[in-house]
């Protein structure tokens, strides 16, 4: 058993990100409530951000700011200092902006769906679409054509 625990502990950040991602993915697919779907999407994306951020970290690394470069001191042994990689952080800043805008669009759509159908439940919306618009079902559409005498 210790073997498995060691494996998990050695790279626990990746295990956390995979678990979170699966939780988010499950919520997006299985939840009937539209808001919960959006929350699931957010968890899913956040998990990916965590993956990127933990990717950048190096054991014993410091923030990527030149050590001793502050205040006009002479920079010594700059090559010996271990810096963490700043690029994934920058990428993820962009991805966070994208995620926020996706959420904003999703919430805007949800408001309009709620105004239209008075519910956020997927099943209720589907039922409402069927009853509100007879032409939603193929049979009714064909029947209507025959009743009209084909105009």
């Amino acid at each position: 058993m210790t073997g498995i625990i060691d494996v998990v502990y050695a790279e626990y950040n990746y295990w956390i990100y995979v678990t979170l991602m699966m939780i988010g993915f499950y919520a997006m697919i299985a939840k009937k409530n539209l808001i919960k779907k959006v929350i699931g999407a957010n968890i899913f994306q956040t998990a990916i951000f965590l993956f990127y951020v933990s990717l950048a970290d190096i054991t014993g690394g410091t923030a990527p700011i030149l050590v001793g470069g502050h205040g006009g001191e002479h920079v010594e042994h700059a090559a010996d200092v271990i810096y963490t990689n700043p690029v994934p952080h920058c990428l993820i800043l962009t991805a966070i902006v994208v995620s926020v805008s996706t959420t904003a669009v999703a919430l805007a759509l949800i408001i309009r769906i709620y105004n239209e159908y008075g519910s956020l439940d997927e099943d209720v919306i589907l039922a409402a679409r069927k009853s509100l618009q007879p032409e939603f079902s193929e049979y009714a559409r064909q029947k209507e054509v025959i009743d009209d005498g084909g105009i």
Binding site: Q45, I48, F51, L55, T94, T102, A106, L109, E138
Partner: protein, 502 residues
């Protein structure tokens, strides 16, 4: 002429920057006068068309363009690369965008009343996103543009049918978010093992670590993500609703371009980030061909079951995407030539068909194909365009559809996969079935029902782009020699790494 030089030196990036800036200026233009945004969008799209044309000519004459953004050298900075492949995809985007923008004025006025300015603003941002996805040589930059194009597409679809459009848009948003997240994850995996984001750099670094499971996982994530984006058969659920309930103009644009750019991205990642040998080695191409063959048959069968013309065209789109991917899955020169040709052909045909559906809806408020009786007498030009585009879709000789299907069938024979020849033939027969129902209703109604129908044609702004697209469908049917010889065949050879034009 210092100012002129700035423009000529930066032409590659202007293809993205012009629609971006024009998109953000549209609200100001619309604030000055509500009728102006249409002219503004046409102007912007025309400029973009000229820029992409000039880029493509430069590429054909003097090879691939490498544009360093901000003067940073490629592995560190973002690089825009235009070669034959994305030069020609950019031209298609700009051309279809220009045609749709001419068409849009009446249709948008009717279908999204009071929101024309917003519609045009989002329209231009969608073009920006697609252009950026195509032109960029940096995979993270690619992801950002992918999200720009997706977000604007959600907004355009949500402007469609009351209620239905919003629900379709929301479903697309959820699926699109999954796809984009998979792609982001794949990018993260590749960055973790190579430490670079530049496509060309990555292709050089990857071969030494192809045994790594991380690279395989990245490929799997990319393929799954792009399959959702292009609506490959088992992952197509968002597509029919989104195409059906969007405003006609947006459907034509999204159906004509979104999936094509998705296919382009798939090819770019398969052949230019990974190598063809690796992709064949892990059986990805074989999986792709079979999925594509399934999509061709199932898409056509489902299209027969529809009575809403836009929904029928959407299912037909699923099967046409299958054709394109079949060509690439075969990984031989003839098959890939056919696939590339079909990208162009499908953009022309499907855009024309959706424009016709929009024009019919504009005049008569009808989308049900069983109510189309007498339409041939009422709107002769529109229905003729429909006839040409539909025949092309079926693959009648003398239209573009025939050429690409011919190449695809030849490619299947070369690859010794006779079953795909059968798939292409069966699907063409199914295409006849679902288009014949419409022909039947348009031209062969009972005389006493149609004798009172007067000619009532769509406005000129709608007719011009439709007729141009129909003419191009026939023109490239007869004279596809030049593009095949100078663009598609060298391109197919380059993609497979057999030399040819760089």
């Amino acid at each position: 002429m210092a100012g002129f030089e700035i423009i000529t030196n930066n032409l590659p990036v202007f293809a993205v920057v012009v629609p971006l800036i024009a998109g953000f200026l549209t609200p100001i233009v619309g604030w000055i006068d509500r009728r102006l945004p249409w002219y503004w969008v046409m102007l912007a799209m025309f400029v973009v068309l000229l820029i992409t044309l000039s880029n493509l000519v430069t590429v054909i004459n003097s090879g691939t363009i490498h544009y360093k953004l901000g003067g940073w050298d490629p592995p560190f900075g973002i690089e825009y690369v235009i070669d034959l492949l994305n030069g020609f995809v950019c031209l298609i985007i700009a051309f279809i965008g220009f045609m749709v923008s001419i068409y849009s004025v009446e249709s948008v006025k009717k279908e999204v009343p009071g929101k024309t300015t917003q519609f045009y603003s989002v329209f231009l941002l969608l073009i920006t996103g697609l252009m950026g996805m195509t032109i960029t040589g940096d995979i993270f930059n690619f992801y950002v543009f992918l999200e720009i194009s997706s977000l604007t597409a959600y907004a355009l679809i949500a402007m469609g049918d009351r209620g239905d459009g919003v629900v379709a848009s929301f479903n697309y948003l959820i699926m699109g978010t999954v796809a984009a997240s998979f792609i982001l994850l794949g990018i993260g995996y590749l960055y973790a093992v190579t430490g670079t984001l530049n496509m060309a750099d990555m292709q050089n670094l990857l071969p030494s670590i192809y045994e790594s499971k991380v690279v395989l996982a990245a490929l799997a994530f990319f393929m799954a993500g792009f399959s959702i984006k292009v609506g490959l058969f088992p992952l197509h659920a968002w597509l029919p609703d989104a195409y059906t309930h969007a405003p006609s103009t947006a459907s034509a644009l999204i159906a004509g371009l979104m999936t094509k750019v998705g296919v382009y991205a798939m090819i770019r990642f398969m052949f230019c980030v990974f190598t063809p040998a690796f992709v064949i080695d892990v059986n990805m191409t074989e999986i792709l061909t079979w999925a594509a063959a399934l999509a061709i048959i199932v898409g056509s069968v489902l299209a027969i079951a529809q009575s809403d013309i836009k929904r029928m065209l959407a299912y037909s789109s699923i099967s046409q995407i299958g054709y394109i991917l079949l060509g690439f899955g075969l990984v031989n020169v003839i098959g890939i030539t056919g696939g590339l040709l079909h990208i162009m052909n499908h953009a022309l045909m499907k855009c024309a068909l959706f424009l016709v559906a929009g024009a019919v809806f504009y005049k008569t408020d009808i989308r049900n194909i069983y109510q189309f009786q007498g339409l041939g007498k009422k709107m002769p030009v529109t229905t003729t365009v429909f006839l040409i585009a539909a025949l092309s879709m079926i693959g009648v000789p003398g239209t573009v559809g025939f050429t690409s299907k011919w190449y695809l069938a030849l490619g299947s024979i070369v690859a010794d996969q006779w079953i795909f020849v059968a798939v292409i033939l069966v699907s063409s027969l199914l295409n006849i079935v679902y288009f014949w129902r419409i022909f039947d209703n348009i031209w062969f109604g009972h005389p006493h029902e149609i004798e009172n129908i007067k000619r009532d044609e769509a406005p000129l702004t709608m007719l011009i782009p439709m007729v141009i697209l129909a003419i191009l469908c026939v023109y490239f049917g007869f004279f596809s020699g030049y593009p095949i010889e100078h663009i598609f065949e060298p391109l197919a050879k380059t993609l497979l790494g057999l030399g040819g034009v760089p």
